[in-house]
Each structure stands twice: as structure tokens, then as C-alpha cells.
């Protein structure tokens, strides 16, 4: 292991102080909660068993910021999505986070689905999303001219938006760290005891002490509860979703997110633009045992492509840029499983199955409310420091310029996504330094374009020398 990689080093004594909160798991929910609690004035540590954040359920999703129009009425999920949506709208500008309010259309492709649109409309209104409306075939065709003629009618949801699933949580955690939080990576929680109001968490890197613990372990949420509390009120049932990302040339084939009329089990297959200029189709919903296996399957991917072509015939000629799969931490319950165990200063945030990105900021608010209701109080940070996020999407309206547009970037390394050497070097430094290629990809987008690393992998291997525990390539020792 290289000298630049510090992950194997034990926790320093200074970090052995007693934190107010230890957040287990640096997924989007953990990052949002760390930020929320820090801004409320708590002393927070976040621990993550992977080398980089967003390594579990948060690494792959459809990157849509939902309004909550179709969330179950009266659910905690709905409350969190609404609050999360609201807060993202408020903070995205100052955090430099992208937002494209494309709107969405729930499209009915047959008479049976047309018949179900009314109930979707009334649910949306009941959920407080007032601007949702029913539109006919003609209007839909005007708004989405590339949809196949089988699109019969739709519910228009103007508030749905697309965002970057990674820069948002990175920014949440960066803000937490800037304002006093600490983060520990490659740090797996193995056991723990609660005594005299203090948790002693045994981790793979030493012991952490904290008054409260918030379990945001996502796909491992039930296991953490079983390990540390001896029980879990829910079981994680991983549900895999595969996606196909089409070439940027396909981006303009839709103007909004194309949602299906949902079934009981899943929201179904969505066609959505990404903020990076691609068009994607997915996810599938496949129950599985493994909490890690995000393999993709040729036949499934082909059926996703076919489903896309069925709805948008012009996709037929579009090359595939990427494929990926994500796991949603579903449980036997439909709603989020957020529980406070007052006797053990433990809050479980589990079963955030598919709306974590939209709900994260709202979940953070709700969890802080639970926490403060039991008499815990801190002094909120006045004028919290704002993190500087790398600009991955040009947005002249927000005055955001990509690094390649500025001078002294040295070199464009990833030609497809226009990632510069300076951006890569910055992502390899600092408290959230990328320690794996996957982490570097999420922070900078290297290798995520058309060529998938054909041109830049060799240069990346060189630039990342000594930074990754699993290096891209090793030096040849043949003299």
C-alpha cells in the first residue's frame, strides 16, 4: 500500500473524543444528516466502510429530484421528499449544485393506463403538488414530439427536476466537514456498547465514542442494528435496478422525464435526461439476496433498450454509452423505517428504498426533530461556511464555468467528459480525496463518456499513482 493512502492507519487519539453524533454510512442520507446536524451545532463524525462516499445504494439511481406527487399519501416518505425538495431548491444555488427543472410526464400507453391517470392526478393534488395536470394526446405530442404514437395521454408534473446524484451528497458532506465534522473512511463498524449515555463503537480502525448514533447504513442497515442493538425491526431486501445510458446525441429526444403509470411494486421504467447531457432508461426491479452484486445482464439491458425504442422510436440509432445497476435497500415495509430508540440514544434511518436522493435533506430535518424532541439541543452554526464544489456542468445562468473553460487547467485528460488534469488533482486531495477509480469517477466524471476510458485510462493510471489501494495499473518491472 502506498504512502499517500492513509486508510489503514488507526484513528488518532484526538479523534477519540466523545462526539455528539456518529453517523454510520456515507450514502446520500448519511451525508445529508451529517450536514444537518453540524449546521444545528452538533459535533459529528461520519464513518464509512468503503474508501469513498456513495459506495452503496447511493452510487446508482435515476438522479431525479421528485416532488412527491406520487408518494403514498400520509407517509413519512412524502413528508421527507417534500421537505427535501424544498430545501434543495433553497440551497442548490449557494452550493453550486445543478438543477434542471425539466418537469415530468406520467405517460399512459394503453386504455387501461389512461383510466388510472385520474387517480394519480387526485393523489398528486392530495399530496399538495398543485400544478400537476392531465394533458391529452395532442398536447403531449406537441411537448414530446419524439414519443411514439402509442402515447395516449399524460399527467404533467412541472416540478420534477433532474440533478447530479453525486455532487449533491459530496457537497452536503463537504459543508459538514468545513463546519467541524470528521469523516473516517475504510472504517467498518464491527461492534459497540452503550454505557452511561456513551456509545463506544469498535471499528476496523479503532474505537469511536459518541453520545448518539444514527444508523444510515443503507443496504446494511438491518445488520448494523442486529450487531449493535441485537435486533432489527426490518430486514433489507435488496432490489436491483439496471439502467442503460444512451449517447449524448439522444439527449434532445425528450424534453421532460417520461414516467410510466406505476404498478404496485415499482415506479417502472423511466426515460430521463441526465444533467450531463445523456439520456437514460431504467431501472428494472429485481429482488436479490446479495447486498453487493450490481452486475448487469445482457438480456435485461437489451429489453431496457427495446422498451426505450418502443416509447421513443428514434432511440433505435443511438449508441449506448454506459450501463449500470444500483441496489435499493427495500424492506418488507413500503415506508421509510426511521426509528428513535430513546433508551439507547440510537436512531435508525432505514429502508430509504428509492427516493433517498430526493428525500435526504428532508430526512435530515425529520431526524433532527426526533433527536431534539428528546431534549437534545445545540447552538446552530452562525453563517456556516459554504463548500466549493467542482463545476461539472456548465450553467451560465448560475455563472458556473467548467474547468476546461478557464486557463491553467494544464490538460484535458478525459476527452469525452472534458475533465482536466487540475480537476483530477483536486479530487485526489483533501478530506474527501478519491481513493478509488469509482470515487474519482463520481467526483469528476472521468471515463464516464462515450469511450469509457479507451483514451484516458493510461493517463489516469499515471495521474492516480499511489492514491488508490486498488490501482488502475501497476508499473512494469521488466527493466
Amino acid at each position: 500500500m502506498s504512502s499517500k493512502n492513509q486508510d489503514h492507519i488507526s484513528l488518532t487519539p484526538a479523534s477519540n473524543e466523545i462526539f455528539d453524533i456518529v453517523v454510520i454510512g456515507a450514502g446520500v442520507v448519511g451525508c445529508a444528516i451529517a450536514r444537518g446536524f453540524v449546521l444545528e451545532g452538533a459535533h459529528v463524525a461520519i464513518v464509512e466502510k468503503a474508501s469513498d462516499i456513495l459506495d452503496g445504494a447511493s452510487k446508482a439511481n435515476s438522479a431525479i429530484l421528485h416532488t412527491g406527487f406520487d408518494a403514498p399519501s400520509g407517509s413519512l416518505e412524502l413528508d421527507c421528499i417534500r421537505d427535501g425538495y424544498q430545501e434543495y431548491m433553497e440551497i442548490h444555488q449557494e452550493l453550486g449544485l445543478p438543477l434542471e427543472k425539466t418537469g415530468a410526464h406520467v405517460v399512459a400507453w394503453n386504455d387501461e393506463e389512461v383510466a388510472r391517470l385520474d387517480s394519480i392526478l387526485s393523489q398528486a393534488h392530495a399530496n399538495g403538488v398543485a400544478d400537476v395536470a392531465l394533458i391529452g394526446k395532442k398536447e403531449l405530442q406537441t411537448l414530446e414530439p419524439n414519443l411514439s404514437g402509442n402515447a395516449l395521454a399524460a399527467i404533467s408534473v412541472p416540478g420534477e427536476a433532474i440533478i447530479d446524484p453525486w455532487s449533491a451528497p459530496y457537497s452536503y458532506l463537504r459543508q459538514a466537514l468545513l463546519n467541524g465534522a470528521e469523516a473516517f473512511f475504510t472504517c467498518e463498524v464491527e461492534a459497540g456498547t452503550f454505557d452511561n449515555g456513551v456509545w463506544q463503537l469498535q471499528t476496523s480502525r479503532g474505537t469511536l465514542k459518541s453520545r448518539h448514533v444514527i444508523n444510515c447504513a443503507g443496504l446494511y442497515g438491518d445488520q448494523i442494528n442486529e450487531k449493535l442493538l441485537g435486533r432489527s425491526t426490518f430486514g433489507i431486501m435488496p432490489r436491483k435496478g439496471q439502467f442503460v445510458v444512451f449517447d449524448k446525441a439522444a439527449h434532445s429526444l425528450v424534453n421532460s422525464v417520461i414516467l410510466p403509470v406505476p404498478s404496485e411494486r415499482t415506479k417502472g421504467i423511466v426515460i430521463f435526461q441526465t444533467v450531463f447531457g445523456n439520456l437514460a432508461v431504467g431501472p428494472t426491479a429485481e429482488d436479490q439476496i446479495s447486498r453487493r452484486d450490481v452486475s448487469t445482464d445482457k438480456d435485461t439491458l437489451q429489453s431496457l433498450i427495446n422498451a426505450g425504442i418502443d416509447k421513443i422510436p428514434a432511440l433505435k440509432h443511438m449508441p449506448v454509452t454506459a450501463v449500470y445497476a444500483g441496489l435499493r435497500p427495500a424492506t418488507e415495509n413500503k415506508d421509510y423505517q426511521i426509528e428513535l430508540d430513546e433508551t439507547q440514544n440510537w436512531i435508525t434511518v432505514g429502508g430509504i428504498r428509492s427516493t433517498g436522493l430526493s428525500g435526504a435533506l428532508g430526512i435530515s430535518k425529520y431526524v433532527y426533530k426526533l433527536y431534539s424532541q428528546t431534549g437534545n439541543k445545540h447552538k446552530p452554526v452562525k453563517n456556516p461556511q459554504l463548500p466549493k464544489s467542482p463545476v461539472l456542468i456548465e450553467a451560465s445562468t448560475q455563472g458556473l464555468r467548467r474547468d476546461w473553460q478557464k486557463s491553467d487547467h494544464e490538460e484535458v485528460v478525459c476527452h469525452c467528459e472534458l475533465v482536466t488534469k487540475r480537476e483530477i488533482e483536486q479530487a485526489l486531495e483533501g478530506s474527501l480525496a478519491a481513493r478509488s477509480l469509482a470515487g474519482l469517477k463520481r467526483q469528476t466524471r472521468v471515463t464516464m463518456g462515450r469511450c469509457q476510458g479507451f483514451y484516458c485510462t493510461a493517463r489516469l493510471a499515471e495521474l492516480t499513482d499511489g492514491h488508490f489501494s486498488n490501482p488502475i495499473a501497476k508499473k512494469i518491472n521488466n527493466g
Binding site: V320, Q452, T457, E462, N470, I472
Partner: protein, 436 residues
């Protein structure tokens, strides 16, 4: 302190750019050299890598240069020779210069270390070459772990950066590049465990463009034996079913020609061939794209749907040798030089080549202007599978062309444009393949 933001690269000087060439590989450099030889004043090559030369830069093995220099060179030496020739005739080569957008009227948005900047050129030659199809577009099942690379990425790692991503990979594909990958591996001390090809015979063919002759069969027999000599079992008619492993590849599932599935222990997967034009700029810009070739739609002058733009080399259609591309570039250089002098012959009419057979993978150029005078002399075709039969060209009800051929995947078939078009008095031409 100097405000770097107001500084510009040397590209945007007051001297107008007559021709900007995007891509400094064999076709781009040879186009540039030819333009200078034809007396064009300011010719700039925009190369995004740190050195010009293109793909041959990281093909550390021969044979390169037989057609161009009548001698056998390694890829890097060949690349150096091309760059030296270009510099000798005062072609401006700008490395680390990325074209971000190509717009109408030859307006290019570029970025260099000085940041973004817009330059204008009288003509633009696209010579952005090809790359191999990545794992994603091949829809391969299984894990998406590290150790899965294209042969191009492996070559750059080995020859340019002296690194290796694995020790015992499997090689997927039997194109020429697949065999060159064996040499790349050998150079790095990497020991491939197996090589598989999807077709019943190896895909690589004797490169006729270099030495025409009837030595294809002994050549292919030689290639068949070559992996075995290197200690690598070769399975033809075999498919990659899935990739397994956690962080790194640990094994792959393959299905052999007899239908039996096998697990092959390995620590990497080299995906070779299945070339696709690097048409990023054209795709995101204003030019028409031919989904069949993956490159821009062109006529026999190489002119794109916006005639300020011309395409050449492997961008036109995937997978020719460096020598072939060098020749195409030279021709493109001459044509663009003529165009700038208004000496390019006008067309009376333009016909479109339609493909109505799924066996035909592509035909390039898509448009042919008549009467024929300058430009490409042949229509280049490729086929998806091996077959014997007739290529038939029809115009309306009339059969205008008929030729008996034996075709193979990734094997070039050419039809002389004059033979194809001389009976076509009006309308377009439809190409079909009739199996016999």
C-alpha cells in the same frame, strides 16, 4: 502578475487559418502535409493528446509504413516520422488542444491551457479516427469491476506509461488488433490465458492494401497458430457470457462452439476490435451522421453535410490500417486544396446509396456526385457475417450492378464507383445481397 484569462493560444493570431485539421493521426497528418504541398498557406493540426501521431504511437510493434515509406517501422517510429514530415513542410501542430464544439462556417470552440477560445477556419478536416467498442456498448453480462480494458487502452498503458493492469487476462476477439494485443502482452510480461473469437474462423484478414496477393489463407493459418505458439489456447465460435469477481476480475464464463460453458480463471478482460468512429464532435454538432458507419455522411470528396467540413481516415468508417488512412488523408488534403482554389469539379447530380439488406453493415460514401472525376474511386462496404453470393445494385426497377463475391465480417469489399454508377441514368442506388 499576468492575467492569463486574457492571453490566448498562438492559434488565434491574426493570420487566417485556411484549414484546421481535427486529429493528428495518420490521416490528419497526411492531409496536412498534402495541403502544404499543394500550396495552402496556414494549415493547423489540432491534437488533444500531448503528442501527435495517433493510434500508432502506442502500437509498439511493426508493421507500419510499408505503403508510405516502403519500409517496416514500429508504430511509435512511424508516428514520429509522420510528425517530422509534417513539421518539415511547416504544418502547425498544436498538441494538448481539444476541440470542444465544431460549429457551422468553420467556427471551432477549443480549449488549451489558456482556457476556452473560439477560432475560425476556412475549411475543417475531421480526422478523429476510431476507437474500440467499450464493454458497456457490448452489453456484456456480469460484474463491472476493474481489469476490463480495450486493447487501445492496454497499448497506451504498456507502451506509453509502462504499466500493466493485470497479469493473466482473456483476449476477446480475433481481429488484427487482437493478435497485436498478444504482442503488447508479451512486451509487458502479461500472459493471456485464453483467446476467444465469436466467428467460426478468425476475423483478421491479410491487409490487401499493403501487399495485394493471394496469401490470405496462409496468413490466417499463421495467425491461427500464432496464439498457440505463444501458449494461448484459441477458441473460435466461442462467446463471452459473463464476467465475475468483486473489485477485480476473478473469472469469466465462456460458451464454446459446442455449446459447453466453461469458467476461465483470469484477472482481466481485453476487449479487442469492434471499431467505431470517434465521431463525438460530429454527433454533438450539426453534421449528419450515418448510423451504419457511425461516422459523418459524406460524398466521394469526403465532404460532410456542411461542405466546409470534410472527413477522412477511420472516422469515415471503422477499422482500416494506418497506411490506408494515410492514403485517404493525402487524397482529402488534395481535394480540400482544390476546393479552396474553386477547382473541385461540380456535380450535375448526386445519388444516394441505400442499403436494403441486413447483411450489409455499411457502404461509404453515402452520396456519389456525378459525373465522376476526382475523389474516392471506390465504394467501401463491410458485411456482418460470412456469405457467398451477389452484390446487386438497383436503380428503380433496373439492375445497374451485379457482382459475385464471398464476404466475411470486418473484411473490406470495394466496388468501383464508375462500374456502380455508369448504368444509373437517374435516381438513387439500392444495394442488396443475394446469397447463393
Amino acid at each position: 502578475m499576468v492575467d492569463r484569462a486574457v492571453e490566448k493560444s498562438s492559434l488565434g493570431s491574426d493570420i487566417p487559418i485556411d484549414v484546421a485539421i481535427i486529429g493528428g493521426g495518420p490521416s490528419g497528418l497526411s492531409a496536412a502535409i498534402e495541403l502544404k504541398r499543394c500550396g495552402v498557406s496556414r494549415v493547423v493540426v489540432l491534437e488533444r493528446e500531448s503528442e501527435a501521431g495517433g493510434i500508432p504511437r502506442h502500437c509498439g510493434h511493426p508493421p507500419f509504413g510499408m505503403r508510405e515509406f516502403k519500409r517496416i517501422l514500429t508504430g511509435p517510429n512511424y508516428a514520429k516520422k509522420l510528425v517530422a514530415l509534417a513539421s518539415a513542410v511547416e504544418v502547425e501542430i498544436h498538441t494538448m488542444t481539444t476541440v470542444v464544439e465544431a460549429r457551422p462556417d468553420g467556427e471551432l470552440l477549443i480549449t488549451t491551457n489558456f482556457g476556452a477560445e473560439v477560432i475560425n477556419a476556412g475549411r475543417v478536416i475531421y480526422a478523429t479516427g476510431v476507437r474500440e467498442m467499450p464493454r458497456s456498448a457490448r452489453l456484456i453480462s456480469g460484474k463491472r469491476n476493474s481489469g476490463i480494458v480495450n486493447s487501445g487502452a492496454l497499448q497506451s498503458m504498456v507502451y506509453l506509461k509502462h504499466r500493466m493492469p493485470f497479469k493473466r487476462p482473456i483476449i476477446i476477439g480475433t481481429e488484427l488488433v487482437s493478435f497485436s494485443t498478444i504482442m503488447t502482452c508479451h512486451h509487458a510480461g502479461i500472459k493471456p490465458v485464453t483467446m476467444i473469437g465469436e466467428h467460426d474462423e478468425i476475423t483478421a484478414r491479410w491487409p490487401y492494401s499493403v501487399f495485394p496477393g493471394l496469401i490470405d489463407i496462409p496468413f490466417r493459418t499463421g495467425l491461427r497458430i500464432f496464439p498457440r505458439i505463444m501458449g494461448i489456447p484459441l477458441h473460435l465460435g466461442a462467446r463471452l457470457i459473463a464476467i465475475d469477481g468483486d473489485d477485480n476480475v476473478s473469472s469469466v464464463q465462456i460458451e464454446l462452439a459446442n455449446g459447453i460453458r466453461q469458467t476461465v480463471e483470469c484477472d482481466g478482460v481485453i476487449l479487442t476490435g469492434k471499431f467505431t468512429p470517434e465521431a463525438t464532435l460530429a454527433l454533438s454538432g450539426h453534421l449528419d451522421i450515418d448510423p451504419a458507419t457511425g461516422g459523418p455522411v459524406v460524398d466521394q470528396y469526403g465532404r460532410c453535410s456542411d461542405p466546409v467540413y470534410c472527413a477522412t481516415g477511420n472516422l469515415l468508417r471503422p477499422g482500416e490500417t494506418a497506411g490506408w488512412c494515410w492514403n485517404e488523408g493525402r487524397q482529402a488534403g488534395r481535394l480540400v486544396a482544390d476546393d479552396l482554389k474553386n477547382k473541385l469539379p461540380e456535380f450535375d447530380r448526386r445519388i444516394q446509396i441505400y442499403l436494403s439488406d441486413t447483411l450489409i453493415k455499411y457502404a461509404m460514401p453515402k452520396f456519389v456526385g456525378l459525373p465522376l472525376s476526382a475523389g474516392m474511386e471506390d465504394l467501401q462496404l463491410r458485411f456482418k457475417n460470412s456469405a457467398k453470393g451477389y452484390i446487386i445494385g438497383t436503380s428503380g426497377e433496373e439492375t445497374v450492378y451485379r457482382r459475385k463475391v464471398s464476404v466475411h465480417p470486418e473484411h473490406r469489399v470495394i466496388i468501383a464507383l464508375d462500374k456502380l454508377t455508369n448504368k444509373c441514368s437517374e435516381g438513387n442506388i439500392q444495394l442488396t445481397f443475394e446469397e447463393r
